[in-house]
């Protein structure tokens, strides 16, 4: 009975989940290829924005977080059964690719689309 399970779960509280600014969310982050040590062969783009996910996962996982059922259950287990089972973690949910132009060791020039290089949204799982 979903209703009875839900009634067992305490409502979201700032005390438990921390301030809203600390909630699991996407953080923009930019890095240069020079910082990664790849500037000797990557021509474009100049900067790379991989972004990252950081923050506390709330005890009640709302729809916006796109959490799988497993994460919801794990939260319940942590809350009601065994606290040694951790709460879900804040991780990237959707990624987008990046196109890179680079010079190979033999002098060939390569255009290539790398999948999963930029975090676009976050989830708790």
């Amino acid at each position: 009975q979903a209703g009875s399970i839900a009634s067992e779960v305490p409502g979201p509280s700032r005390e438990h989940d921390g301030p809203e600014s600390n909630q699991c969310s996407l953080h923009p982050f930019q890095v240069s290829f020079q910082q990664l040590g790849w500037d000797h062969w990557i021509i474009a783009p100049n900067l790379y924005s991989p972004n990252y996910c950081k923050g506390v996962c709330p005890r009640v996982l709302h729809y916006g977080l796109n959490s799988p059922n497993h994460a919801i259950i794990q939260n319940l287990v942590n809350e009601l059964v065994d606290q040694s089972v951790p709460q879900p973690s804040c991780v990237p949910y959707k990624y987008v690719p990046i196109s890179i132009l680079l010079i190979e060791a033999n002098g060939s020039i390569l255009y290539k689309e790398y999948e999963g290089m930029i975090a676009q949204s976050c989830t708790c799982r």
Binding site: A44, Y48, I98, L101, A105, N106, G107, L110
Partner: protein, 243 residues
């Protein structure tokens, strides 16, 4: 180096596909960036700008039709003796074994069809090298079987997909695609023999190889070990088997 026990449960190979790929493609840190300037770099920069924005996001309306494009420059050019008004260079393009995860979907050669000189100009075209081609045959007009593209007018792009599978090795044992770069000077114009022999075609003719990533297919159904080794040696054979 990760000591977490949970990491050990991940599949053994490839553990870090991106890093493995970078190690294969990237020149060593101590190696300086190869000096590639001029037309090839400019061409690829334009291709990049058409296909991705300044942040590197692939454009939704991109027409590139592949996830990877490799520009290959000729290893060297050999100028042949002039035949009438025709100047001919033989160009060898290295064809390295392709990784299994990528399938060649298109191959073209890009070249300048007009070479402008101080007092004259040459009309040029490219054709596949054939071992015993009839010496008397030379086309009367330069363009060949080119098809429309987004290239500037000075450049022509010609499909050579059917010739990429040819088996040819150069003296160093590298598999190459051999093409002939042929230019015709107008009748009665100054003889350009000396100029032609000193000219490098390395910046005026290059190969474009278009690949698509088939990695997702490879993940779901890995190839048997024997076939994998086989395809790493020669990807064209894999293409024939798949058909």
């Amino acid at each position: 180096q990760v000591g977490q026990p949970s990491i050990a449960h991940l599949p053994e190979a490839p553990t870090l596909p991106l890093i493995q790929e970078l190690l294969e493609e990237a020149p060593g840190k101590q190696q300086r960036k190869p000096r590639v300037l001029g037309h090839p770099l400019r061409y690829m920069m334009e291709l990049y700008q058409r296909s991705a924005d300044a942040s590197g996001h692939p454009r939704e309306n991109r027409t590139i039709g592949a996830t990877m494009v490799r520009l290959v420059r000729p290893l060297a050019s050999v100028a042949r003796p002039r035949r009438g008004s025709w100047h001919i260079q033989t160009l060898d393009f290295p064809l390295r074994p392709n990784r299994v995860a990528y399938q060649l979907v298109r191959a073209t050669v890009v070249y300048r069809h007009q070479l402008h000189l101080t007092h004259s100009h040459l009309s040029c075209h490219v054709e596949p090298w054939i071992q015993k081609s009839p010496t008397s045959h030379f086309p009367s007009s330069g363009r060949g079987s080119s098809k429309p593209s987004l290239l500037p007018k000075a450049w022509t792009e010609m499909d050579i997909m059917e010739h990429v599978g040819q088996k040819l090795w150069n003296r160093k044992g590298r598999r190459v695609l051999r093409l002939r770069f042929m230019c015709q000077q107008p009748r009665g114009s100054e003889v350009l023999e000396f100029w032609w022999h000193g000219t490098s075609s390395l910046d005026t003719v290059f190969l474009l190889l278009y690949f698509n990533d088939t990695q997702s297919v490879q993940k779901t159904k890995p190839l048997p070990k024997g076939l994998k080794e086989f395809t790493e040696k020669d990807s064209s054979l894999l293409l024939r088997r798949a058909r």
